[in-house]
């Protein structure tokens, strides 16, 4: 179950990488397109796959539960199994075509590495969130529904609300608010990380001192990574916590 789907996922990324390079003939442009894909698709795939895996292996989980294994290790094992195989598919699937295309001689290598790191973080985060949803919902349909909703919310709706808030309160100093708003959404957070690489010129056009400190120094990079790590750790802790209390 696990392996078959991760092959599909791997093949998908391989294809994506090849097609992007074929269409663009240009590494830098492909990296930018890829960024959009990663920010939207990786969370979606992570969420759906996480939920699906959880529900599909429920019986197996029960089998394991009767064995002398700690609950936390069962669920963490499953989580890591899914998340890591997804991450590997992502890294290899995208990495291989780009390496063949001459990534190592290109200046885009740092952008690309950052992209893969961010993609991995997003996979870890969204698989963990998916497991949380699945753990809390016995009903598969409901679980899937919530998972899709979560993705839709974080990928699109959140930014819409965020934008409205910023425009509504434009008379107030907003730089802190906007940074905090970004921190609270892992997709935005990853996007910002990539912006730091791709659009630093534009970001530095803004006046706010907090912004400047955030984007102008390595401070932003560090804070973003710390936040991403927190975003991984929190849901994983909840998996452990929730799984300890759950009845099967």
């Amino acid at each position: 179950m696990r392996s078959r789907w991760s092959y599909v996922y791997f093949a998908f990324y391989l294809l994506l990488g090849v097609v992007l390079l074929f269409l663009n003939n240009d590494l830098s442009k492909a990296v930018i397109t890829l960024m959009n894909v990663i920010i939207v698709l990786v969370p979606l795939i992570g969420t759906i796959f996480g939920v699906m895996y959880y529900y599909n292996s429920q019986e197996f989980t029960e089998l394991l539960l009767a064995q002398p294994i700690k609950r936390s290790s069962i669920f963490l094992g499953q989580y890591l199994g899914v998340a890591l195989s997804l991450s590997m598919s992502l890294i290899l699937g995208l990495g291989i075509p780009f390496v063949f295309y001459g990534l190592f001689e290109s200046s885009a290598i740092w952008d690309f590495s950052l992209l893969l790191i961010t993609g991995t973080f997003l996979t870890l985060i969204f698989t963990a969130l998916a497991f949380n949803i699945a753990l809390s919902n016995e009903n598969k349909i409901k679980g899937f529904g919530y998972a899709i909703l979560l993705w839709l919310f974080l990928a699109v709706i959140y930014d819409g609300l965020f934008l409205m808030t910023l425009i509504l309160f434009e008379d107030y100093p907003l730089d802190k608010v906007s940074l905090i708003g970004t921190m609270l959404n892992p997709i935005d957070l990853s996007r910002t990380l990539i912006l730091l690489k791709l659009d630093i010129s534009a970001l530095l056009g803004y006046t706010g001192a907090v912004f400047k400190q955030f984007f102008g120094t390595s401070f932003g990079l560090i804070v973003s990574f710390v936040m991403l790590t927190i975003w991984v750790v929190m849901p994983v802790l909840r998996i452990v916590f929730k799984s300890k209390k759950k009845d099967f």
């Binding site: 830098s28 930014d159 934008l163 434009e170 906007s178 912006l195 659009d199 010129s201 056009g205």
Partner: protein, 411 residues
């Protein structure tokens, strides 16, 4: 025949005896530059040998050639202006001039040329300065291969590297200027050529034009300045093959055009600037064969700008290609390459089949609420940009490139 030869030799010898050479060194009979100038006549050459000369307020009022051997140091000890030229046909070459006095009432310079013609200022190194080379009401001169290293931090108490004021036909070539207020500043100066200079790390502008017409600047590099080049209130300036790079910061740009008419901007590279070109109230400007890559905004248009044409430029991976602050457009965009173009080319003629719309709704939003920049490249923003693209409301609906190129242009 013989007598003629003798005559010429006689004249030659006579000339030598007239144009004599004076040597200056710390242990020579003539140990200061000032003394040498006092002893000299027109067309003499003064050779300054290696050493340190603590002098300032040196006036050159004769047509002299002053040559430094192995970079002698002229130390002004921060007491005021160091060299002032007030005669035609003066050449100053190979001096290391340091410690110009700073004043809030007078613009002390390391070397000033006033009311002179045919001057040559070359191979100088200037450090610890206020103003560097100040050309005032002079013409037909050359400022060649000088290195100016300032230590400016704030605008108000610093001077410019090379400044031209009411001067004409001056060539400024192969100079390196850093850490001053404006690297090169032209005010009321026409017909000048500024070529192959590097101006970097300056507090304000790399190059600054005010009320100067018919100047050419080409093959220069402007990197990491407060802003690259500001061209203001000037006409018919030609800007060719310059590099504008990493001019980062709030209201920072590769180039600022303000009230500029009939200029030509051709073959320049704008790279990693917050704003590539900031245009205000400028008309009839030709933009051609320029590369705009990785800028925050490639071009930001403010206020009324009419009849500008942007043809055959490359717009590569800029966060925003074009930003307008109004929805009126009288400028032409044609045959450019836009890396953000997502159309197709079914008839394979190298031109995209659907027009490209370089102004995004989001740039309008960012203009209004700058903090929203943080949402750049969000999927939500892509969606609203797309809907604006389909039916423009906030952005000029006739601002289109009808012939977007499919492949990056080379020339």
């Amino acid at each position: 025949m013989k007598s003629i030869t003798v005559f010429f030799i006689a004249i030659f010898i006579a000339n030598i005896s007239i144009a004599q050479t004076i040597e200056v060194c710390n242990t020579c009979p003539v140990s200061t530059l000032k003394e040498a100038i006092t002893q000299s006549k027109d067309f003499d050459t003064i050779i300054v040998k290696k050493g340190t000369y603590k002098e300032h307020s040196i006036f050159i009022d004769k047509s002299l050639t002053i040559i430094g051997k192995n970079y002698p140091v002229i130390d002004g000890e921060k007491k005021g202006e160091i060299i002032t030229i007030k005669a035609d046909n003066v050449t100053v070459d190979g001096l290391f001039i340091i410690n110009v006095g700073t004043s809030y009432t007078e613009d002390y310079a390391a070397i000033r040329v006033r009311n002179s013609k045919n001057f040559v200022i070359q191979n100088l190194v200037l450090e610890n300065l206020f103003f560097g080379i100040y050309i005032e009401k002079s013409r037909d001169g050359k400022v060649y291969h000088n290195k100016i290293i300032g230590d400016a931090v704030e605008e108000y108490n610093s001077g410019n590297g090379i400044q031209l004021w009411y001067s004409k036909n001056v060539e400024i070539e192969h100079n390196y200027v850093e850490h001053v207020r404006d690297g090169i500043y032209l005010e009321f100066s026409d017909d000048c050529l500024i070529k192959n200079n590097i101006s970097t790390l300056n507090v304000r502008y790399g190059l600054h034009f005010m009320f100067s017409n018919d100047d050419i600047y080409q093959d220069n590099t402007f990197e990491n300045n407060g802003a690259g080049v500001a061209v203001m209130f000037s006409k018919r300036i030609k800007m060719y093959n310059n590099l504008f790079k990493e001019n980062w910061g709030t209201a920072s740009y590769g180039m600022l055009l303000k009230e500029i008419n009939d200029a030509e901007i051709i073959g320049n590279i704008f790279e990693d600037n917050t704003i590539g070109i900031n245009i205000e109230g400028s008309n009839r400007i030709t933009y051609k064969h320029n590369n705009f890559s990785n800028n925050g905004w490639a071009i930001k248009v403010k206020g009324a700008c009419y009849a500008n044409t942007f043809t055959e430029n490359n717009f590569l991976y800029n966060s925003f290609d074009i930003a307008y602050n109004s929805n009126v457009n009288d400028n032409v965009f044609d045959k450019n390459y836009w890396s953000n173009y997502t159309g197709y080319d079914l008839d394979k003629n190298g031109i995209g089949d659907i027009p490209y719309r370089p102004v995004k709704l989001f740039s309008y939003i960012v203009n209004r609420t700058p903090e929203t920049i943080i949402l750049l490249r969000s999927m939500f923003i892509d969606i609203i940009d797309f809907s604006e693209k389909v039916s423009p409301v906030f952005t000029p609906d006739d601002l289109l490139d009808n012939n977007p190129q499919i492949k990056k242009l080379t020339w």
